[in-house]
Assembly symmetry: C2
Homo-oligomer: 496 residues x 2
């Protein structure tokens, strides 16, 4: 049996056309991979109640998810799990202040900033008693997850496997092990991981507790060798940890912890299915109208500080200034999904992006040409349509655990579009050789890569596009969980 824990549930409640609340399976490789594994082996997915509807469901009890059915009615599904239910979802409901401290105060404002190295260090962060209260709340919720997992495991027959996801739940592995010393636990970090020199921004005891929390697992997983190595090097500074860098093992608390690299894949079939929808065809028609006979450069991002939207626009400006022959012949479509707009830093960032795009459009545009087209909304059809027709895709995050845009774009693209890819995106490990690699901090090199992408010889474009899709499809999503379980067997197996 599998027991999965993540902050966000694999389902979202929404109203259908008739006004009835239905639960819809979330999109994305992670949900597909974990839900697939749960469906095969049976089990439970524990998540935070994030919305009012989640909280209502939490009060009603576990939600049973039927077989391969990705869509169902909430009322029906909340009935006790029957034979056709393959797994259940349990929502953990917390009081608002505790949840806010755990989710915003620690997860998003500290751990996200830490591992993406987003702080303006001379001024931020500023830790305080407030932070310590938030850290206590973070620990409390991580422990509630541990408690729910432990409870679900009790009487489940043979010892189940726990799959704990991401930075929101970095303490849960150790807290679970305190309750269940023989638990078999995998933790997976979907973010990058800061090495020791940057990790030292976070004060003790939070710093050590964060690392020791993860070391409660038998297997600690990352998307790339680079993030795994950062974690290993961090652990070298943790008193009592014996780190074998070469074999990626850590002796800790009488156990051996294996640090593994499991780059996540995308759900190609789901993506292709979604892109065949009518709305996508309509969106494509609109985009083709906007594009005209110009070349199309796109970017697709949440407006997160890590996504490096400003330097992307500056690079495009530098390209247009250096290469005035390209003016009027290219459009940069930026599909930006607003993110964390309740956080001032994030609001400022989006505003700065809009202002910069307007400034560039004012300086370089003409009556019949806007150099940058901004689309600030969460419109998946538009994204899918843009993926199909781009000539170049700019993915230039300052740091990114994986970056799925770099995999989704080439999968749907039909124009042999060129991928310009940050060397600091996790996806670079798999796709770098077929992309134009850039340092995300190098505006000049990014400008040069835009020119190179737009002017690339068609045969070279086709060759690279084939390379990308081959590499993307070679990494099969259904192997992602399996490889973690295999390593778990080797590690925890040796222990018992």
């Amino acid at each position: 049996m599998l027991l999965v824990a993540s902050n966000r549930a694999p389902l979202a409640f929404e109203e259908d056309a008739g006004g009835r609340v239905v639960a819809r399976r979330g999109a994305g490789g992670l949900v597909t991979a974990l839900a697939g594994a749960l469906q095969r082996s049976g089990g439970l997915w524990v998540a935070s109640a994030m919305t009012e509807q989640d909280r209502e469901q939490s009060a009603r009890g576990d939600l049973a998810v039927a077989g391969e059915e990705p869509r169902f009615e909430a009322g029906e599904a909340s009935e006790p799990a029957g034979a056709r239910a393959a797994y259940r979802v349990r929502y953990l409901s917390f009081d608002r202040e505790t949840f806010d401290r755990y989710y915003n105060g620690v997860s998003n404002e500290i751990l996200w900033f830490l591992h993406h190295q987003l702080w303006d260090v001379p001024r931020w962060p500023r830790f305080s008693e407030e932070t310590r209260r938030s850290w206590d709340a973070y620990r409390e919720i991580n422990d509630a997850f541990a408690g729910a997992l432990d409870e679900a495991a009790a009487g489940s027959g043979p010892e189940p496997v726990f799959l704990i996801q991401d930075y929101h739940l970095s303490l849960t592995p150790a807290l679970l092990r305190a309750r269940r010393p023989r638990a078999r636990v995998v933790h997976f970090s979907h973010v990058p991981f800061a090495g020791p020199s940057y990790l030292s921004v976070v004060p003790e005891p939070m710093r050590s507790e964060h690392l020791a929390g993860l070391l409660g697992a038998d297997v600690v997983g990352f998307h790339t060798v680079r993030w795994a190595e950062s974690f290993l090097m961090d652990c070298r500074e943790l008193p009592g940890a014996g780190v074998d860098l070469r074999r990626r093992r850590i002796r800790w608390d009488g156990r051996t912890v294996r640090v593994g690299v499991y780059p996540i894949a995308i759900d190609v079939e789901q993506l292709e299915g979604a892109s065949s929808a009518l709305e996508v065809a309509e969106a494509k028609k609109l985009l083709l109208g906007m594009k005209g006979d110009r070349r199309l450069l796109i970017r697709v991002d949440r407006t997160d500080l890590s996504k490096n939207i400003l330097r992307g626009f500056l690079a495009y400006e530098e390209f247009l200034r250096a290469r005035s022959d390209w003016r009027g012949k290219v459009v940069f479509l930026a599909l930006l999904n607003p993110s964390r707009q309740e956080v001032p830093d994030y609001r400022d960032y989006l505003q700065d992006c809009v202002r910069l795009a307007e400034r560039i459009n004012g300086d370089l545009g003409a009556d019949d040409w806007r150099p940058i087209e901004l689309s600030i909304e969460d419109d998946l059809s538009r994204v899918a349509a843009a993926y199909e027709i781009y000539d170049a895709l700019l993915v230039n995050p300052v740091f990114d655990g994986m970056n799925l845009v770099a995999k989704e774009g080439p999968t749907l693209n039909r124009s042999n579009g060129v991928l310009i890819l940050s060397e600091n995106a996790g996806a670079h490990a798999e796709l770098g050789t077929h992309a134009l690699s850039i340092s995300p901090f190098d505006v000049g090199a990014t400008a040069a890569a835009i020119a190179e992408a737009l002017e690339m010889d068609p045969r070279e474009r086709a060759r690279r596009a084939r390379g990308l899709t081959t590499a993307i499809r070679r990494n099969r999503l259904d192997g992602w969980v399996g490889r973690q379980l295999q390593d778990l067997d080797r590690t925890a197996g040796g222990r018992r």
Copy 2:
């Protein structure tokens, strides 16, 4: 024979009371240590011409520094070195643009920011063709130093030892070795060193060239184990480098490079001598008048982004808010030496420090009490006087290679003053156990440390003060160069 290279010369030209230009030896342990070693073995110190007077001297030829005489007239000293001259200083003069690119464009705006982790990563830095031109200038000047060293070594008899200082000259070791394959070279970094996760902010090929430049030395030295380890971990990502983390050795280009830890000491005698000057006694009288019967907390810093002045003031404010019984009974004297005021970031930072101090004084002060006394000038007498009488000294840099204030303060202090010390200052490795350790990012913990320092039991204060002075005096300045030369003999000796 020793050949020393550093950006800044060990001498400064100034006018004496009679209006005559005299060369005065710079203060500080580095000059004392290197000049002492040069005086014993004879040799040459190569430096950049930074001022008009430096450039004039450069045109006149080498400047001979006589025996133990720290002060002499420029005219006289510029005569050919005679028997009593112990070493010479050679000024290298560069055209202004090249020098500006090397000194500001690269050394201070890139390498200083990199190793102190000072960038606001979502927005800065932005590398461009401009940066590449500056990097070329940096290489050119590093190569000019290599050329001057090589020339000075020619015909010097037995192969001399090259001691190359700091981040300004990170490429000189490799450029010197290209000219002189069997050169015996030590490079010493006086700054912290960023590990791989932050180093990746600097694009290739600069990143690798920076590391490979240092690896041109036989011994690469740092103030602490922590910075040495960061460098070793950085080199693990350099293709072709074989890193032995445990023994701190790197195989590179057919040679073995030793990474060493040599914490620099201060020149206790020089410091005590300077503090006995009449001006210090006068400054002390003024400070004692300002202090009255209040307790005195001080800080002494250049207004550098790395010094963390803002969080220091915020911590003091938090202390005063939490402990209103202390209002009117303590003064925070901030002795700030303006730094790099031609750089907008640095101007903004100093302004923000002043504004914050004024805001706190406005919010919490009274007619007869200003909580924070700001002194924004380069006044060494005032500093020496403040060192003598402080009750607590706050040294809270975000990152600092060593930090000499943490050593100078306790050496001159006569009040059993308590040292509050950032765990990210290099000095923490030697002094941490006798100081109150803080994370510089933890405003709450810094506030608590201020309270603890001011309220510490007299016996505990005395015990810690003794511990500090003992630790400071135990590290003898005259051993600093010797230990590097010893390691050089072991390393380069093995090679030949």
